[in-house]
Symmetry: C2
Subunit: 432 residues, 2 copies
């Protein structure tokens, strides 16, 4: 086989990493795919910008059609990001029988199934390992490694920015705003951090994971999302005291035929394998009926880690090209989507309240819970500086989301409750 | 495609799991491979033994040829264990163009490359994911997920029995012999635990991992092996005090073109991701030049976890059969094996000595180290019950194995040194 020519859409952080890996590991790649890999053309916005890698200027172009319509280019690597325009490029490429490797989680979360159908119709591979958890080969593990199992639960720390912020807040007792600024200086958070800190980025990744893991077409809108911006130092301190670590966790849970997917700040028992995932690292915990507990840990972002996933996908495409079996790997979802009702979603909850420090108040509050048959795992009561108020921290046993939301409404109506300071989902049982 | 018929060699722990998963997950498997899977025949030793699964008696046979020569059987699942006889069965099967899925680490560690060659010559798949770390899809991750990277280090907790024993010893301060008995009662250790506790089982798995990860034909004899039988409660206690956890770690390390592979009890910094792998769980930590740190965690043994890996491999074979591309996946080693010399293998070491409590002794001992330019990270000295002796605990900085072994010889010759109580490899830097 002659050299394979590839086209790159984008030459930012990940694109530069892809160029570097193809150069540095050319020997290994050639041994695996049987021919050299040549980056022929790269789409960029600005021809004169300074680059992190040395690139022959003739390879750069601002005209996507020079790549999308080049008959010599067999595979396109999409690392430019973006939605509508990028999607159009990808459709053009697939219709021109070009295989695609992409790191674009936004696009795959929203238009993944449409694009995969077009790929399959054109006998093209469309691989997207890099879209979830950077360097961790989690999509392959779900699809191939655990192919024979029935996956019932996935829990992911799939956003490095928020995990970095929560780790620093926990370790140093710093406030959210302060750590966010540090993360921005270090390059772990963007100037506009909304998509990360509001949980949207994690929700996109959970959409992709749940669709693959449950073989069911989960949409981004199906995912309940809550970010980390309202987490306070008090919450972290109480969590620690009770044996829990605060993490932004994506949970996809299947019971019977029904599923629910959510991204929420979660107090995770310190004994859980995910609780020790620090800083900007990612990890995905997968529970399968037969295999039991597994976890996949690694860098969730960064130039070279993400590029490793991209180029490994490229190797997969090239092996398929050699065997003449491209476009045969994607499995259409097996099950019709069925989402759980709030009455079917169970969790434990952490609740922090400020209440009047008067006789009977505690009984008032707990009776709201017992009306819904929700009992407690832990209860703390502490005096507050304002003498007439006290702080109550509750950790419930399992309760349905429906019941819990009804309880919150009733608590807000109680005269004795001044404020509901915070409320989080709780996972696992702490030893403390 | 009609039903695929498979033959099973063996119906023990893993074999029963395979039968269960094929029954319980028939729907998912059929969706993926496009046809039903039928277990046609199972080789057993005793037709009348009671089984963990319900099996039609007509399916059982004591004659291997009924499976190996059955033209209807396309895939053979080898879960009987054993070496010579099993190898002959596998060769017969491959020559009859039957694909094989095996969980046999002993066989693959010793005869893997021979068997893979025969498989490839006969256009057959030979998959063996289950042979290393049970339910963790680590072999696929090395070969596919990290295909584009250059792997420089692998560290594995790949034996559940010894990890269970060391976890219990660490948590409860119990003695080795006591915990071994408990493990035997619970079924985590065999009546003859030699292969596990002497590190041989882990060495076989490291042979397979190193061969794949470094693309180099590593042999079992290349692996330096030391078991856990001489680890004492004192060693664990000192380790804890210094911020280290004792684990039986397989390390495969590549520097430049040279590698070394070993299995040894290792004091691992508490901050290392492997340090929190408890009980009978397994984990493999992989360091790649581009991806950086990754870790794969899960159950290392057990009926259903191991069977998950076996049946996921079966799905892989069946997908390849459908596409007509069996026997094309194995990549022959790219590099010629080059093992490091003892002078090229670097590590930190923990050393515990009993010495005469006299003036000048400490200077005597440390001067042996400085002759070899080895310095210390930590030093502890404690009095012993026998008044004239003291206990010294040293943690060195990086030293070559050559230097360290020379130092041990010299220390043994010193009059002031009564005994070298223990000596372990140290990995990572503790925060303590």
């Amino acid at each position: 086989m002659e050299a394979i020519s590839i086209g790159l859409l984008g030459l930012g952080t990940v694109g530069s990493g892809v160029v570097k890996i193809i150069e540095n590991h050319q020997d290994k790649l050639m041994h695996q795919v049987g021919c050299p890999i040549k980056v022929k053309k790269i789409l960029v916005k600005d021809l004169n910008k300074e680059r992190a890698v040395k690139i022959d200027n003739e390879k750069l172009t601002t005209d996507p059609d020079e790549i999308l319509y080049d008959p010599e280019i067999d595979v396109i690597i999409e690392v430019m990001g973006g939605m509508k325009e990028t999607k159009n490029y990808m459709i053009k490429a697939l219709r021109n029988r070009k295989h695609i490797v992409t790191a674009n989680k936004d696009l795959m979360a929203v238009h993944g199934s449409e694009l995969l159908t077009i790929a399959s119709e054109n006998e093209c591979d469309l691989f997207y390992e890099a879209s979830v958890a950077g360097g961790i080969p989690i999509l392959r593990s779900l699809v191939d490694g655990l192919a024979s199992d029935r996956i019932t639960k996935m829990m992911g720390i799939v956003n490095g920015t928020t995990n970095f912020i929560l780790t620093k807040m926990s370790k140093h007792g710093s406030a959210y705003e302060e750590v966010l600024k540090e993360a921005q200086v270090l390059g772990y958070a963007e100037a506009d951090p909304t998509s990360d800190v509001e949980g949207l980025d994690a929700a996109r990744k959970m959409t992709i994971l749940a669709t693959l893991g449950f073989s069911m077409k989960i949409e981004l809108d199906d995912v309940k999302v809550e970010g980390i911006t309202r987490i306070t130092e008090e919450d972290l301190r109480y969590g620690r005291q009770l044996g829990y670590t605060m993490k932004l966790i994506g949970i996809a849970h299947r019971e019977g035929e029904k599923v629910d997917v959510s991204v929420q700040p979660t107090l995770l028992a310190d004994t859980h394998p995910l609780a020790s995932v620090q800083d900007e690292f990612n990890a995905v915990y997968v529970y399968g009926e037969a295999v039991g507990e597994t976890m996949f840990y690694g860098p969730g972002a960064g130039s070279l880690p993400t590029a490793t996933a991209v180029v490994s996908d490229l190797v997969g495409v090239m092996k398929n090209m050699r065997l003449g079996v491209t476009g045969k790997n994607s499995v259409t979802p097996q099950y019709k989507k069925q989402l759980k009702e709030p009455s079917e979603i169970y969790s434990k909850y952490f609740l922090r309240l400020h209440v009047r420090d008067e006789v009977g108040v505690f009984a008032n509050i707990t009776s709201v819970f017992s009306e819904h048959r929700v009992s407690f795992e832990k209860i703390l009561q502490m005096p507050l500086k304002e003498k007439e108020y006290a702080e109550i921290v509750l950790v419930t046993h399992q309760a349905s989301l429906q019941d819990y939301e009804d309880i919150l409404v009733k608590l807000r109506d109680l005269q004795a409750v001044k404020t509901i300071e915070s409320s989080y989902r709780v996972e696992g049982s702490a030893n403390v």
